[in-house]
Subunit: 585 residues, 2 copies
Amino acid sequence: MNPYQAPLAEMKFMLDKVFDAPNTWASLPAIAENVDMDTAVAIMDEADKISRELIHPINRSGDEQGVRHEDDKVITPDGFKAVYDQYAEGGWVGLCGDPEQGGMGMPKMLGVLVDEMSYSACNSFTLYGSLTAGAALCINAHGSDEIKEKYLPMLYSGEWAGAMDMTEPQAGSDLRNIRTKAVPNDDGSYNITGSKIFITGGEHDLTENIIHLVLAKLPDSNGISLFLVPKIKVDDSGTLGESNGVTVGSIEHKMGLKASATCVMNYDDAQGYLIGRPNRGLICMFTMMNYERLAIGIQGLGTSQAAYQMASDYAKERVQGVAAGGSPTGASSDPILVHGDVRRMLLNIRTLTDAGRALSILTGKQLDIAKYGEGEEKAKAARYVGLLTPVAKAFLSDRGLDAAIMAQQVFGGHGYIRETGIEQLVRDTRIAQIYEGTNGIQAIDFLGRKVTGDNLAALTEFVTECNEKLSQMSHVDEAHKEKVAGLFNQLLAVADKVNDNKTKTPALINSCAVDFLDAFGHILYGYFWLLMADTAVVHEDEKFASQKRHLSDFYINKVLPKAEYHLAQVSAGDACVMNIPEEMF
Amino acid sequence: MNPYQAPLAEMKFMLDKVFDAPNTWASLPAIAENVDMDTAVAIMDEADKISRELIHPINRSGDEQGVRHEDDKVITPDGFKAVYDQYAEGGWVGLCGDPEQGGMGMPKMLGVLVDEMSYSACNSFTLYGSLTAGAALCINAHGSDEIKEKYLPMLYSGEWAGAMDMTEPQAGSDLRNIRTKAVPNDDGSYNITGSKIFITGGEHDLTENIIHLVLAKLPDSNGISLFLVPKIKVDDSGTLGESNGVTVGSIEHKMGLKASATCVMNYDDAQGYLIGRPNRGLICMFTMMNYERLAIGIQGLGTSQAAYQMASDYAKERVQGVAAGGSPTGASSDPILVHGDVRRMLLNIRTLTDAGRALSILTGKQLDIAKYGEGEEKAKAARYVGLLTPVAKAFLSDRGLDAAIMAQQVFGGHGYIRETGIEQLVRDTRIAQIYEGTNGIQAIDFLGRKVTGDNLAALTEFVTECNEKLSQMSHVDEAHKEKVAGLFNQLLAVADKVNDNKTKTPALINSCAVDFLDAFGHILYGYFWLLMADTAVVHEDEKFASQKRHLSDFYINKVLPKAEYHLAQVSAGDACVMNIPEEMF
């Protein structure tokens, strides 16, 4: 197998031309002082290099070896610590972090591309840094100045790691039922006691300290509050002191992601510090979770890209059978890329991956404008972040699994063998559909809160803007434009019907949400493909533009019709789902 | 987790009422002398018992421990040998075998249900017996009387095992390129030399001998011949002699199916015996492969059923969140089965599994009539076997993976943990889409050979019969009948278009085959659901009939529309697949 190579030309085209990073950044002073396209390109080039040369080499061995739990320690696979040190020294953990606290202040619109490369190279490794960046983001948004100054520089530098402690055995999707308790001390700190499960990076040997963000309940309160709980206490000078009643109970044995430590964490009167206001812990978490949800979507996207590379390389090398209608070279056996079915699978992966990158960058762009912009632009971006985030998380991670499975199919029997590595992608990316809120919950957030919560205002605004841009495109097929615009309008009509019936039939949203999100995702990708094909016409490389046209044609003809299937399911309503008595299951 | 329980009431209803086993068997003398419904029910009851009590208990431990390769031996996980001995002593390996050679002579229509139970209980274990039954079938159809008498009783009794040796590193989907050689000896035997890969059950410790069916080429021939090669030589009296130049080179490390030995087999002047005529080895293999392909489809079906049971049990037990519109019991947390999205997933699995069982039984029934029937009935059944077999293999195994993944999603985070066992189903069943001919190859066989090969004659005959039966149904919704019949007619129209263009655009079939098969499968399942609902009306248990109505409504409203998406993809043709130059991948 060739080592992973970031699709740099694609990425630069998308950032520069399709989503107009130069003008976007120029309009955001906080970003403009840190980055321009030249800097961004240099960062991408370097990220490609470390993804390929540093991170990818520990992917397979990490899967084979896995993390180990010995006594009170969790030991990462060989090489992880050394790679992590180099990664942290390069400043990658703090790439999008606050410059006032030692972060590099890069826009998320660029950060998503770096994340994608890293996830393509190794799912397990990338999670450690991603969780740390997420924890830092939350602390920066809701922590006191004292807390920020004490913890953020160490998190951005990667010297310390972060972890999010939410789930308990009886409280997964429904966090109301958490039992971890926080008892106030006289000095303003709290004593945290309880047990958490499924804590990614809860304990490991990569850093000397781990900063946990723990959801817990104050005495006599049903509200949920957020606490910062360091594994090892930190004194006022920032020096590490004694251990803090934070211990790992066990690690989970999982389908994949074996080099990522998934821990049961126990808190026994551990000293913690309130982040944000009492009983407002979920709100603090949600600030961060928009970023984390996007990051998990990107785990799926990175997997898709890696799967595509492996499968297309294999399809060019593996010789088997002869092309229908005769070998193009007169050979007795052709590379399997000549076969329509192999091409069908590769083109499915490819078109869903490239459009997925568009979704990732657009969501990153809206996060940047929502954070650094002003006035109505900022407010609109915040609405779009709300709309796009659950879609990015669910649709990118769902397509990530699809891509890995299709790529595995291209490998035939060899795809089932661990040696080729493609089956690891299937196992590793499967979790992305589950954690950070299952994709079902993302869809319910999308249809229930984001789409019908404001009676379709944000969705209509977004779709109208897409349809306006479609009407301005002059280099793509009119019929294709009409098809996508027509489907967007059908989507609005279906959403309207759901909105009208949401009170009368309360189970409607829960029953139809996944299909509604899938319909939106497929139509949005149709829009992205036309946008990419239209924009590429001006690209200096004629082949590049031609490829975008071909891929766009494939997507519109072959993949987009799936949107109608999903819309049909939403239109079918919830009666046939809900009417069946429980005992008949 | 509850241990597996075969859906006996479903199975009996399908066999007895939906597919009319009593009259079918009464019309086939060779079957009628061995079995009636009472005997069949007794066999199903016993198969349920051994699946649950004997086979299922070694499923998880077998996955954890896996097979081991030590020196020249392959050692199965703890318990496999003891369970296999009991299984073999019960006569299960020879269930559908020829009674003249010690088989039980049971119809495949019943055998498919026993296979399903066994695959539900443990994928890995079931393969050993399945391969043996397949090898026996091939020997019985093409071997000389001497060979049959020598080997079949030992295979049916399970004292010896069978294996199929086809694939070589350079010859997977395309067997033309095999290099294994067969050199004739003076005594009529052949010396076989070469190396085979991906040999399921190629070596193991369950039986004292393993009978390999090996594809090889005669000197100066490009034709492929089939040879029986015992691991240990057998003398004229049936006594085991010396070893036969058959050795295991290594075993594969796989994504799943870890208790099934997948071997590299080396042949070094091993003594073999020609099965069938020289250069006609593939034809001999194909006799058997109709059965084996169905068996691998049933691997997917058994997995679906196991996944459904686990997920529906979990959904009834796991308490999280409150029903939309308020808890039905006034509780503060409800079982997750109240949630529309959880129901949607369970109903998808359930409706695809039950209809899958219909496909499995119908295909088994056609195999029985094709084998034991007479005249035009027999000929028609042979045409239907040709038509249905690739669909059963591909559609059942594809839906098996879908089911396992959806069931895993119902488990949330717990589904990713090995402990709950659901992730093993995903890993184990994934291979069923690949081996015995990838599902892409099944689809090309279906559309290229079975559908357009006779210019739609067999497909039209089959669809006409289904539509006639639809028109006779009096207990189901007229609109549903029209919908299914309409889709069948659309399918014929699309097939007609493909047939008209197959010469002009030679890549069309290869490019569109998978979608065509998926369209057919979804429409066929719509027909099966109406057939089941219509038949169930006379069922003594009113709840049973009501459940079938509910499930049928769900399938027609929510799943069937997918057929239109697949038909749209076929109609979109192959241009957008084939026009993209190779260098753009």
